[in-house]
């Protein structure tokens, strides 16, 4: 394989990897605040993409459609927390899994009823000729995906490290009980987290829809891959989520490119799940995480 082909696969990998990273980040935000894995996370990505397409075809300029879509999905995330998560915040893990799985089924079907079964796409954010990097072509949308992803990651870092509210959220992640004793409104922090997580996921959906088509059923795969990325980087670590997402995207893309076997692309999705199973079975704390003792 030439350097040019190799770079082509690398660019494809980090582009889809960015979306996995944003999805993984969404998982991480909610997990850190509540200990819940939101099985509807992928549906938020899908909703973001589809809502943007609808708003855009309804006449809104692309930038407005993108922001509007993120806002709509954020509201869905907030409602989801208020209606489904809040009553079960102290319930067993199994109950929480079942509720988010039920929500994913409901959201996916609602999306199918609203948008139909057709896969749709957005136009690229900016027109322009593809760039050439060492002979590999990079479409401008890739630059948008990478740039906005980096911006979101930095903004989240600043929020969590520098603002009082961000520190309160982190306090809840460390110990909800102690945080509450210090007067932090745990309920509102959880609500905020679900809104933020839905917004990040929706942004990922809006970003990727010009590159790969989006349909009502796309969310399940993206969600599972986002979780695989979060696990790969060590669940609970935002930096790990981003690293895991990029690594997963690269692994997927390069394994398709490097395997000397023409049918390999059909197995592309299986590679992510194989990695998920291997990491779960062999190193459930993630590649970067540390083993912790279990409290009985």
């Amino acid at each position: 394989m030439s350097l040019q082909d190799f770079l082509q696969f690398v660019f494809a990998g980090i582009t889809s990897g960015s979306v996995y990273a944003l999805t993984a980040l969404g998982f991480t935000l909610i997990y850190n605040a509540t200990g819940i894995i939101n099985f509807a996370q992928g549906e938020f990505v899908m909703l973001g993409g589809l809502a943007a397409v609808s708003l855009h075809s309804g006449g809104a300029p692309l930038a407005l459609a993108a922001i509007g879509a993120v806002a709509v999905v954020t509201v869905v995330g907030l409602l989801f927390e208020l209606l489904a998560i809040r009553p079960l915040l102290n319930a067993s893990v199994l109950a929480q899994i079942i509720v988010t799985v039920g929500a994913s089924l409901a959201l996916r079907t609602a999306a199918m009823l609203i948008w139909g079964r057709e896969a749709v796409a957005l136009p690229a954010f900016t027109e322009g000729a593809p760039l050439s990097v060492f002979g590999a072509t990079v479409v401008p949308q890739t630059v948008w995906v990478l740039g906005v992803t980096a911006l979101i990651v930095i903004a989240l870092q600043v929020f969590y490290r520098r603002t009082l509210l961000g520190k309160a959220v982190r306090a809840c992640a460390v110990n909800p009980m102690a945080a509450r004793l210090l007067g932090i409104p745990y309920g509102r922090v959880v609500l905020l987290t679900f809104g933020a997580s839905a917004a990040v996921a929706a942004a990922g959906g809006v970003l990727i829809t010009p590159i790969s088509f989006m349909s009502y059923s796309s969310g399940a795969l993206i969600g599972l891959k986002g979780f695989a990325a979060a696990i790969l980087g060590g669940l609970g670590s935002p930096a790990g989520a981003v690293a895991g997402g990029l690594a997963l995207g690269l692994l997927e893309s390069l394994s398709v490119g490097l395997l000397p076997w023409s049918g390999a692309s059909g197995y592309k999705d299986a590679i992510a799940f194989l990695i998920l199973l291997l990491v779960l079975f062999a190193r459930p704390q993630g590649l970067l995480g540390q083993v912790s003792a279990q409290k009985v």
């Binding site: 997990y31 509720v99 089924l105 996916r108 009823l113």
Partner: protein, 373 residues
């Protein structure tokens, strides 16, 4: 009737504790009433249900209604398995559609490609599913909660991808056509009434086995490990083995359902065996109720009837209703439909130990510890 390890009553220490009736997830052991009464009532319900289910073809000849009932039985089988896995062992699987798929494809390919007898194919496919369940269950069941759910979800996706991609073997997205129907003593089960009796007999045997489970050593072990795995294992219960046991049994039930499906509709394609079916089965088991095995009957019935009721609008609404219903049930009706009458009439004094049981303390604090048992 076949039974799960009957006669293992002389219980261990845990067995005694469970027998006292305070540990059970409700439904089987009733406080303050005689065990004999409870036993008789349980059997009476089963006998009546079996009688009705098996004699339906005598007075119902409409083949459309008979086909709905056949699909009811086919859905009931994996739902019973998930009811046991979720309700009694407290383990989740979001990949059970894969076992239905393995059963269906096992039956389809063994009969159409290698000319095997359909019944032998059903048996071999179940054996294959059991083997796969052991291979995936041994590492996966060591994981807890979210991790187990994701691992089984990933497993289901991989099986689906293999069914689509291994075109030379499975026919890819085109599926497998002209699968032969089952036969019994020279009679072809293409006759819907005959098929009804056979498929319901199989489903009823599974129901009986599941109803017996709480009275066996394995059943009591599951109840104990559902409550607290650490206490159970410190009492000498082989937690991993018992979890694997119920996982494999539920996989076999699902596989047999898939085989019946393949021989009944005579055509299969991979898209029916995806995540949506896995999730739908879990939703059905939960909506029906996990506190008693009868919940599976309610759940499977709803799964089959709701699309018929909603068909005049759009059968796609079924999945939406199921998704919303499972949330509502989890929040307001933790015992599911099976527990609804008692709940509404205020008959149940204490809430049974259902999945939605509130944890005693705060939300999980020590998050790093959930990965492994």
């Amino acid at each position: 009737m076949p039974r799960f390890g009957q006669g293992e009553r002389a219980g261990s220490a845990t067995g005694e504790a469970v027998k006292a009736g305070e540990v059970g997830p409700g439904g089987w052991e009733r406080r303050g009433r005689g065990r004999a009464w409870s036993w008789a009532r349980g059997n009476l319900a089963f006998l009546l249900f079996s009688l009705v289910a098996l004699t339906v073809p005598l007075y119902l000849t409409n083949s459309y209604y008979l086909s709905i009932l056949a699909f009811f039985a086919i859905r009931l089988m994996p739902t019973i398995g998930l009811n046991l896995l979720l309700g009694q062992a407290g383990q989740i699987s979001l990949g059970h559609a894969a076992f239905i798929g393995l059963g269906a494809y096992g039956s389809a390919l063994l009969t159409t490609r290698w000319g095997l007898d359909p019944w032998a194919a059903v048996f071999l496919a179940a054996l294959l599913s059991a083997l796969v369940a052991v291979l995936i269950g041994v590492p996966a069941l060591r994981l807890k909660g979210h991790y187990l759910a994701m691992a089984t979800l990933g497993f289901g996706e991989i099986v689906l991808i293999l069914l689509v991609q291994l075109k030379g073997l499975t026919g890819g997205t085109d599926g497998v056509v002209s699968i032969p129907p089952l036969e019994l003593g020279g009679w072809s089960l293409a006759d819907p009434r005959l098929f009804h009796v056979v498929v319901w007999s199989a489903a009823l045997i599974m129901l009986r086995m599941a109803l017996n489970l709480p009275r066996t050593r394995t059943g009591r072990a599951l109840i104990a490990l559902h409550r607290t795995e650490i206490a159970a294992s410190s009492l000498g219960i082989d937690v991993a083995f018992h979890k694997l046991q119920v996982f494999v049994v539920s996989a076999i039930f699902a596989s047999i359902a898939g085989s019946f499906l393949a021989h009944y509709v005579m055509f299969i394609s991979p898209e029916g065996f995806g995540v949506t079916l896995s999730v739908l089965l879990v939703a059905g088991a939960v909506i029906g109720g996990l506190a008693t095995v009868w919940g599976a009957v309610w759940g499977a019935g709803l799964m089959v009837l709701l699309p018929e009721v909603l068909a005049r609008y759009n059968e796609d609404y079924t999945l939406l209703v199921f998704g919303l219903l499972v949330i509502v049930v989890m929040i307001f009706l933790p015992e599911g439909l099976a527990g609804a009458p008692a709940r509404l009439l205020g008959l149940r004094r204490t809430l049974p130990d259902t999945v939605a049981r509130r944890s005693q303390g705060e939300p999980v604090e020590d998050r790093g510890s959930e990965c492994r048992s």
